[in-house]
């Protein structure tokens, strides 16, 4: 039996890695990838908790996170395309002016 603590530690490490990428990288594609990693880590925490109690609820929550991640990545990639068309760059700091 895998201990719940180790599963949650793995989820926490993956979440911290995603957060590090989100804060450190300025390429907007890497920012989106880091968000995906963080969402995946959150889903892992749900599945670990569901396995701890032997209930399917954690897996249901993972499915909801999956739907959220799919919607987020589609809109996010469309935003990347719009940003690239407007600013000809992938730097997120190029999008710090909201006017126009």
């Amino acid at each position: 039996m895998i201990s719940t603590t180790h599963g949650l530690i793995l989820a926490a490490v993956l979440f911290a890695l995603g957060l590090t990428g989100l804060l450190a990288r300025r390429d907007v594609i890497f920012v989106l990838m880091s968000i995906e990693i963080m969402m995946n880590a959150a889903g892992l925490a749900f599945v670990v908790a569901g396995a701890r109690w032997g209930r399917p609820d954690g897996q249901v929550m993972f499915l909801f996170i999956l739907a959220t991640a799919a919607a987020e990545v589609s809109v996010g990639l469309a935003l990347i395309l719009a940003l690239f068309r407007r600013a000809r760059t992938l730097d997120v700091d190029a999008a710090n002016r909201m006017r126009g």
Partner: protein, 158 residues
């Protein structure tokens, strides 16, 4: 069989660290696929085979393909010859070989890779999804519709 969990978790952490530290987005995507595959192995050891399959199909399949589309659309072609150097394949290949070795070991032992905990079958997950969580499914469908409309609106060439 908790060794399967620990090896897959170590591969997941290593590949995720490589994702956030690569310079080229295509290299990072290679490591991202490895990260998702190793997490699918972790889900399998946690007694969630349905989630493991969905992780491979949706994360390592659909979402990474979307990323690959955008990266290949946006990147200038000047670096393409540099990307094709075979050195970039070495790291993901080693990590994937570790996962493949795990697969061979598990299949050779002839037992399910879950480790004593209860296995939640797709039937149980589906019954919970369309029983007490039906409202959440409807909300997720509306969220996906909003994502579709938003992506279409933002992606129009105007």
């Amino acid at each position: 069989m908790s060794a399967t969990f620990y090896v897959a978790g170590a591969v997941a952490i290593a590949s995720t660290a490589m994702v956030i530290s690569r310079r080229d987005a295509v290299h990072a995507l290679l490591y991202l696929v490895v990260s998702f595959l190793s997490l699918a192995t972790v889900f399998l050891t946690l007694g969630a085979p349905f989630i493991a399959a969905l992780e491979v199909i949706l994360y390592a399949g659909a979402i990474v393909v979307l990323f690959v589309f955008v990266v290949t659309m946006l990147n200038p072609g000047s670096q393409e010859t540099q990307w094709r150097r075979p050195r970039a394949w070495i790291g993901p290949s080693i990590l994937t070989l570790v996962l493949a070795g795990e697969l061979v070991v598990v299949m050779a032992r002839g037992e399910a890779p879950q480790t004593g905990g209860a296995v939640t079958t797709p039937r149980e997950a589906g019954l919970a999804l369309f029983g007490p969580y039906l409202l959440g499914v409807e909300a997720a469908s509306m969220l996906l519709l909003a994502g579709l409309v938003g992506a279409f609106h933002l992606g129009r060439k105007t």
